[in-house]
Symmetry: C2
């Protein structure tokens, strides 16, 4: 067997072209075979079809048809967020231009753990994260984190304004971990305080990092209660707190009262992290940016451009108001160096190389090998501009308003509340929680719609997260119709399992 | 401005086609503009060119030319691992077929945190990781981790053989973190013991997870010394140890004496993790699999298919001999559920949905949103088969042997040792360490070659990691010539910085 071609090098584009044609063909045919927003038949049937398409996962001899067959099978078995009836989660249909750019990242395969694996990619990451850091913390002077920028002289005057920066992460979960880690390192003995509306990754981060369980503050209306936070902060007996607030809760897309929380953190000397994984994209909209007032007062912010940013996963960002906080990430390296032992990552960041101007990139992530997710982000920001990106944000938020009005006017449905971002919660009038859960599962099982669920105010609701800028109100009318049919035709009140078709 | 097209949905393939043409064109033209394995001019010049190409990272209005311009600039500024003279790191040129498959992952954008975002992708991941787990731990019965598989009955007989499984990770660093985390959770008070040849991510994981600093065991010849390990294990006063061994060290590509280490771990009741991020790919080669004898005795194993597996980043795997160890990953969720509070991730894994057959995927990663890196891996395993993948492994290992012989026969160079995998260390005869470092930087600065460095036996060596199956011995003869020219023409003995051209 001849050695198979590589993606880059002089023969790369020529070798890729027919393979990309194969992928596009399989994507089209697979979507046609699926014929809806997700595959029909439920988990067992989908797994069985995938097993048949795959066969022996590691056969003795190769099969040149595998690319088409597996891409076709994956497409036929996918829940496609570009289908207007796939609207459950923060599961974004990516823009074609971002996806095309991401191909170049795979082809060139730079790894952002050393300059000599990623000369241009490391420079691009520094420039784009600097610009995005400025969006989050406009009053902080952006850090000069371009790899080639000279280090400040030892006798430089003390800074008066903190310098902001941003790291690229795999998503809100990693960003939230970093927020807790930086707090642990800068404030030993720190106590994490979360709203009970916080993302599950925050208590998980405390567990991961060996910290005590977080204090939980009630969020009776879905957003963190400032009076309860004040009470919790008053009882810390001198310990420093890391307070986390949410801008875009997972269940209802709500935004905590950020200015009040920031005031409380300031008066109690607490550190503030805002998980804006979902809501952060509102920064791009002139009409909606004010919803995030107070965001810039957080020490750290999580923001996912694979949510309101239309990137393929992953495109997480972690913005830090004062870049000197990041010294904590380099700490274990420095400690090893100064302990007189062999510098443990000498192959990536030898001191004489750093002194000679080759930047040390290891302090910018908890990962070592790291894909340049910044390329698709950069291409998207430049191709759309702030205006184009803001228009997409407004489009899905406006659509959510329209859908909420549609639900509210419909006698068969009850609306939870007007949406803050693009999440709409509703339920069939008078239905039991079991019916809500069963209808959702039936629509999933039959391959008709992907809608989510959320427990709020003691009841279970359907959750739709509208992230598809091409969806139209008519699509959502159709969604309501599907729910009515599923509810009336097949489901006696209280049905719990999947009703077989 | 019209709403820009999405990557998937009925219009996806048609929208993508011209954009992919743009990317392929920019990749070709960018490589031509670079004209070598990496861009010339050093970090400041590369960053300046990237800054010019980018302009304002977030302009008010969009620019439809951005895709071509940025992909061109990134390509022109990349270190291309498909160039035979780019041979420093574990930085792999990806296969065209794997890269094409990865495009489909970006297009469909499934996220592996819930079944209804990834019906087929979660099934594919279960099947392929099961097969790969069996490669690492062939004696363990593979776990039935297919999402649709029924859970064992409560009155099922106790298992006699542990069931293996594997998780997909972002790379060796995350896999090593998971190894330390599982040890922390299954053996409270565990003491990490690493060779001083271990990857820097292991002491970093101990720090991250709030554990004491690892005990370090000497590796005087580049591999962990079993006598020293025995001594360390004998002095733990009853604490359980997690011993980490390395199969493919970063500096020299050496493999620790795995059977001896496994014997010691067994006799001392210690847990064993093997970091085979580099060497794990030897499993695919019939001629070289025996180098990994003892691997299957480890409780956990890290293996990166973006190294000896020719995948675009990321394609990390974490194999676990006994899948019940993974219960630790689900722990914080269970704890929250049983504490009577709101289950924190109810939107992804509600109990009634799980009971109704919709699998809970959250216990398979520390991340939440997660890209299906398994697709490119599956397509590669099927397209090449074990024979084809093994041939690639043998190709680069044989090339390393040839290169070592070439160096050994050359009067101007000293060979460190015959390579174990595909890493060759050498240095100019009689040169100082400063010269070695300066020659490497000069080749980088001038855009002529990417070679690495490693400090071993008290001296600095050039490090080449051969991972390009298309490289030929003639390419490596050219590399030696380049080094001779750089050394003789420009560098007085002891030059430390980059010599400007």
């Amino acid at each position: 067997m001849p050695i198979p071609p590589l993606a880059s090098g002089p023969q790369g584009p020529g070798a890729l072209r027919p393979l990309l044609d194969t992928v596009l063909d399989a994507l089209g045919a697979g979507a046609e075979a699926r014929g809806g927003p997700l595959p029909a038949g439920g988990p067992e049937a989908v797994a069985a079809r995938m097993r048949d398409a795959l066969g022996d996962p590691l056969p003795a001899e190769g099969d040149p048809q595998a690319l088409h067959r597996l891409v076709h099978a994956l497409t036929a078995g996918s829940a496609d967020p570009a289908d207007p009836l796939c609207a459950a989660h923060l599961h974004t249909p990516p823009l074609a231009v971002a996806t095309a750019a991401d191909l170049a990242a795979s082809v060139l395969n730079p790894s952002l753990d050393s300059w000599d694996q990623a000369p241009a990619a490391s420079a691009l990451e520094a420039l784009v994260t600097e610009a995005l850091a400025k969006e989050v913390h406009p009053t902080a002077t952006p850090a000069k984190n371009t790899p080639a920028a000279p280090a400040p002289a030892a006798d430089a005057p003390a800074r008066t304004t903190p310098e902001g920066t941003a790291l690229v992460t795999t998503g809100g979960t990693e960003s939230n971990q970093l927020a807790v880690l930086l707090a642990r390192e800068t404030h030993p003995g720190v106590q994490l305080i979360c709203g009970d509306n916080a993302h599950h990754s925050l208590p998980r981060a405390a567990w991961l990092l060996g910290l005590p369980e977080p204090l939980t503050v009630p969020a009776p209306a879905g957003t963190l209660d400032p009076a309860a936070l004040d009470h919790a902060l008053s009882r810390l007996n001198g310990r420093t707190a890391l307070v986390t607030a949410t801008a875009g809760t997972t269940d209802a897309g709500l935004i905590d009262p950020l200015p009040d929380i920031a005031d409380l953190c300031e008066s109690h000397g607490a550190r503030l992290h805002i998980d804006a994984a979902y809501g952060g994209g509102l920064l791009f909209s002139d009409r909606r940016r004010a919803l995030l007032t107070g965001l810039d007062r957080a020490h750290t912010v999580a923001l996912d451009l694979h949510k309101l940013g239309w990137q393929p996963v992953a495109a997480g960002l972690f913005a830090v108001r004062d870049s000197t906080d990041l010294a904590a990430l380099a700490l274990p390296h420095s400690r090893l160096r100064s302990s007189g032992g062999t510098p443990m990552a000498d192959y990536l960041n030898a001191e004489d190389d750093t002194e000679a101007g080759f930047p040390d990139l290891l302090g910018r992530s908890l990962r070592t090998t790291r894909r340049p997710d910044i390329l698709k982000i950069a291409v998207t920001l430049k191709t759309l501009g702030r205006t184009g990106l803001g228009a997409l944000v407004d489009q899905v938020c406006d659509l959510a308003q329209e859908f909420a009005a549609l639900v509210d006017a419909h006698p068969g449905f009850e609306l939870h509340d007007r949406p803050t971002i693009s999440t709409v919660l509703f339920r069939p009038t008078g239905a039991s929680d079991d019916t809500v859960a069963a209808v959702r599962r039936k629509l999933l099982h039959d391959g008709r719609a992907v809608i989510g669920r959320a427990a709020l105010d003691g009841r279970l609701w359907f959750k739709t997260t509208l992230l598809n800028p091409h969806s139209r109100p008519g699509d959502l009318t159709a969604l309501l119709k599907l729910i009515e049919v599923a509810q009336s035709a097949d489901l006696p009140e209280g049905t719990e399992g999947i009703t077989p078709t």
